[in-house]
Assembly symmetry: D2
Homo-oligomer: 407 residues x 4
């Protein structure tokens, strides 16, 4: 990696717990206050990934708090960690965001763009990115969507099928085009890598997938695989390999952060649970009749999330057994490093000249997208093997990235 | 597989819960009373494995109960399952066993061989196997050790290093040669496949490894990977891949069967716990400072085993999280199918002409042996991949087995 | 107790899991096949309670299966227990029941009374009880409601306030009068003890409470305290006594029996959860802000119920701690003995001449009724102390009961 | 309470986690930084207890760190709590302690009294108390033993039976007299209240019990009931009341503080576990055959303690059920308030003129002592009822305490 390269990471939802944790975490890493624990690809040296130190952050949010204030509210950092980075974070303020209450009811902010048409909103997003490039002197940019879950939309409608149709719908201010799609479109149309870390269907729009291929934008998504699903996809393969039949899997989650609050909107919740459900059946090779996933907003836990799973299996001689998991985790502590690694890997893909969905990044997601829309691999160990194999495909030329510098 | 082939499975500890469950289970399968749930390789058709129906069982035990009575005592089968197979099982009585109270204190049986010298004991074992072959008209035999854990012995002593030295020690009635070694020697010297499903070090004797290579005996071991360790080796890889540092892993087990009772002998227990400990560090790549494994004899649970694990991990920003596992499992229900699959896979190896440790069978063991004594793979998913790859290496000629028929 | 006295227990929902377990259990006790484990008042000898052997059962159900068939379906008894009592239970067939789909949607049976008016239905219930007394030669009868949870009704309406108003509403076939009220009315109008083991509000109707006082009918209710709430009311007092502030209590339940299925009707579920919620705040003396109770229909568990609770408390120095409970229980195994003891204690109350709500029976219920509608005691230990104190108030004269023999 | 009264609390083990938490906690309370959460008797106003603000602390320790340093090491306080009290705590330094490695092997400190004879050690303790009274201007003193668990000694030996015999043994430097007995003797001989918060048998010495009666010293002990046993004695009564037979109760604890380290000495551990065992059988009224208690030193947890319990019960029809508890607690956060309340209640007893064991304080202990050595009440709710009843016996005259001022 050339010494003075810089990668800009533009985050939709910059003031959220995950994003502020990522920003603060890399700042603490830079100062030697924390080590690389929790960063999955810290050990993957010599693979061409840009250094952690070369990342610089910006992004949008509906709340206008500066990042120090936001981090204080989220209460993810320890008191002394917050104190150490507050001077830097207090200088970072999210750009005003695109909002649409029809897509995510329970989160209403105060810092939304005053523009009226969808085209004007797209244009405003582009201007934000251009300004980001210039001010931060970044050579390349990656856009990552961390905004709260939006409601689902039927993507088989003709207006979503081709770039032309989609752009016509944009021009017509079509009410089915939600904010996340606008960010995705703005990035992809420009050849910028885009990752969907939420269950939002923004990047699943067929029109945008085609556009990404055409314009050289690497994509990844969707819905970060952090706590319960990460374990589920590690344990289900063993049950399959030992021929232990899963009769039922009851999963419940309690969490008290803004994500949990958003999920109090049943439409957003349904969307979220859905992406959680598919992985299990896919790994096992049959439909689990009683697979139940509950997510409960529960304030005492704050950003700390707790998952409890009960798994009923039937083994030899038809005899029943039970496995229970109780994961006391921290949502943002698990998610923030994945956001960081997504930025680095998508950037690597871009430099290698790859475009469209990068299949090898499936290990980061609950509902991995695939280039050809084909069968998805959900088993953690196999996903990891594919990621490692993709990474080792060969270094890119350090100069390759340079040619694409903008601003 | 030729239609009328039969494989004899001679088990050390035939009256134990695992063995009686295996015997009863295959009998119930034959009658269509149960399906193949819990049998890991039931779906591996066309790989050259002998059919489940072709297995026939015999073996040794210190207790002389017939298998129906033994199964009744172990209380693993349901009332109606027991009833269905009792007529067949009551006709099966274990052969008298070799015993040595210095090697396993807490289990004292009544049916031990009256022979005095080690050589006579080996000879008696051989005669048992010859009679088994003849009476059951089996084409091939596999010997599997399911006896209770024995105390450890220092295997670096010269007498354990070469076949000649070992045989000299045998002749001298060396007190360091325990019963499990006698069974292993009897099988291996004869080219018969041998698996060590207990933590016994019987097949780790360097002299016997050499002998197995020389005489064409496929080996596998040791210590069946059933409950807690199976999960541990499925979860540890995820923690590694997500760079979650394991600060401590506390594992406790409660079980009430004969195995648990044997473990009340501290020497046997230490041996058992030891094989449980290595897997974790090996997968993670560093030594977990506080890795504690407890096994507690607790009668209310009977053959049902319960494991509770608490895992302390540190993630991004040095922040701690906890994962807890509670596995309510049935020892014999998990173990019996592995014994069955070991018999089938070792038999396949024999027919293919493989000898010595079969590395690909590592997924069945807590402390897998390797052909070259090199680094062991403990991660479940990777082990499974290797097993599947080994199985698909190509069918053996069905006639190959036939040539080796004895009796 | 006079030797040949007999108490008839008429159960609404006789074919359900709880009732069939009670009937089968006392039959097994009579035959010496089980002991009195699980029967809370087995040790309360010399208190004037009628013997277990003197109870005889009858009752109504929407399903016409005989009790042997019903017990087989519920799968609560072991195979051999069922076999032992099947000859007796197969002779017992529930009487056709009163039904009203507007009150309990998800349970629709086939054996409902063909009568059209509410008055005719009450009359039919009375005739059932008269026939029961005569055929079974029972001296006294107790009616216990075990039917599935019904939807709530506003009991502050004038028609529910006085016996006269209630009877006028009956005559007018008022749609707010559900089946459970009809059973309660039929029993209470007659001076027969009545217990409400479900969350049904049948016996909370002010008109019926007045009638019970007037006609000498002892009452008890409501909603049997079996699993999770039993523990909750044992643990909450300790938290209060140690000044550990409860910030949140998340309770989830999975169960797969008919009760669980009924709860898939949201109206029935709301009613159920409500009775679960009050106990905690009452014991602690403040409102727990995040007290969440979930009940989930989950088939793999059958009649076995599982509760998982997570309790967040704050202690000295404002520091947080967590307590988690996991109760793997059997709904009917816990509930059936309470039904039996309710029958015995209500019968004792009747013989003592007590009428209206018997406060001392509060320990059996999630939402205990009180005579004066005043503050309810929910703490288990204190409830138990009151029960024991009430029991020891003095024996009744054995002849007292005799005077009231009917039939 | 007279406004300017002060109570001195002299603690054996002042530098430990529990004591420093108590000292810091009351300092934070005084400053309004924390409220009375976790202090069991905060709500017991008007009962004559001295105010929290009136307590002042001193005491002995084998480690000479000042309390700010000690608190920093124990890591119980949050960063900002520690900061707030550090100026005060850094001025507090424990007095050098009496030590005897034969009584507690794994804890070896650097600040022990240089005196050689037991009599000299007693005299040194007395001088410490006199100096404490004078310097702190306290009207009364209470001594509380929080030192690490010592090994057991046979108290039926004649030398322990009478004050005369005990004093003769003291004169003879009898090796069976451990440090804890010296503190107890010094306090009791002087009429000073003494509480034994550890499993130490110091105050069980018959000679000291007689002396306490004679000299007017109220006593309480032993072994603070904080985490697992507190829950055990809340839950066992319910199981008894519902006639659920306890077949087995498996309890395991992991903790990483100095207490846990001390328990690595098997002799100390046996003593500790023993006091944990008796409560259960006592409440249930029968011996639980498989009651197993394990305590494991496990560093990742620090002062945070975790208990996991599995309870096997048998209910109606002989059917088994399981209850599991998982308590993530903080040892010192639970224990410190009990130490504070013991000081206040023993002081009240002293002012009331009570002497010897105060039975009503049993709720604070795992192994409650009784005045007459008779049957002990272990059930939490009943213990609490007795405490409340004792407290409400009537106020003492505020002047009564004054008369006893010393110094």
């Amino acid at each position: 990696m050339a010494e003075n390269e810089r990668l800009g990471v533009a985050i939709v939802g910059l003031g959220g717990a995950v994003a502020t944790t990522a920003v603060a975490g890399l700042e603490l890493l830079r100062r030697g206050r924390v080590d690389t624990k929790g960063l999955p690809l810290a050990a993957a040296r010599g693979m061409g990934l840009i250094d952690y130190e070369a990342l610089t952050f910006g992004g949008w949010d509906l709340f206008e708090d500066d990042l120090a204030q936001a981090a204080r509210n989220h209460a993810v950092l320890t008191e002394s960690q917050l104190e150490a980075v507050a001077p830097v974070l207090s200088q970072m303020r999210p750009w005003s965001a695109v909002s649409n209450p029809h897509f995510c009811k329970n989160v209403v902010g105060t810092s939304s763009k005053k523009t009226r048409s969808l085209r004007e909103q797209v244009q405003a997003i582009r201007e934000d990115l251009a300004r980001f490039r210039q001010e931060q002197k970044v050579h390349r940019v990656v856009v990552i969507n961390l905004a709260s879950t939006e409601r689902a939309v039927d993507l088989t409608q003709p207006k979503f099928l081709t770039p032309q149709a989609f752009e016509a719908a944009l021009d017509a201010n079509d009410p089915d085009i939600g904010p996340a799609m606008l960010y995705a479109y703005a990035a992809i149309a420009d050849g910028t890598p885009f990752a969907n870390f939420t269950p939002s269907i923004a990047a699943d729009v067929p029109a945008l997938l085609l556009l990404a291929q055409r314009n050289g934008s690497p994509l990844a998504g969707k819905d970060g695989k952090t706590g319960q699903t990460m374990l589920k996809t590690a344990i289900a393969p063993v049950l399959r390999d030992r021929a232990l039949h899963v009769e039922g899997w009851y999963s419940t989650n309690i969490l008290g952060n803004r994500d949990g609050e958003a999920l109090n909107d049943p439409a957003s919740k349904a969307n979220k649970i859905d992406t959680k459900g598919a992985a299990l059946d896919s790994i096992l090779g049959y439909k689990v009749q009683d697979h139940i996933v509950q997510i409960q907003y529960y304030r005492p836990r704050g950003d700390n999330k707790e998952a409890w799973d009960n798994i009923d299996v039937v083994g030899f001689l038809g005899q029943p057994m039970q496995l229970k998991l109780n994961f006391l985790c921290k949502d943002s502590i698990l998610a923030a490093p994945l956001v960081v690694e997504l930025a680095r890997t998508l950037d690597l893909a871009k430099r290698r000249g790859e475009a469209g969905v990068i299949d090898a990044l499936g290990c980061f997601f609950k509902a991995p997208m695939t280039q050809d829309g084909g069968k998805v691999e959900h088993a953690m160990a196999e996903q990891q093997r594919r990621l490692m194999s993709w990474l080792s495909l060969g270094r890119v030329q350090p100069t390759l990235g340079k040619e694409r510098i903008r601003g």
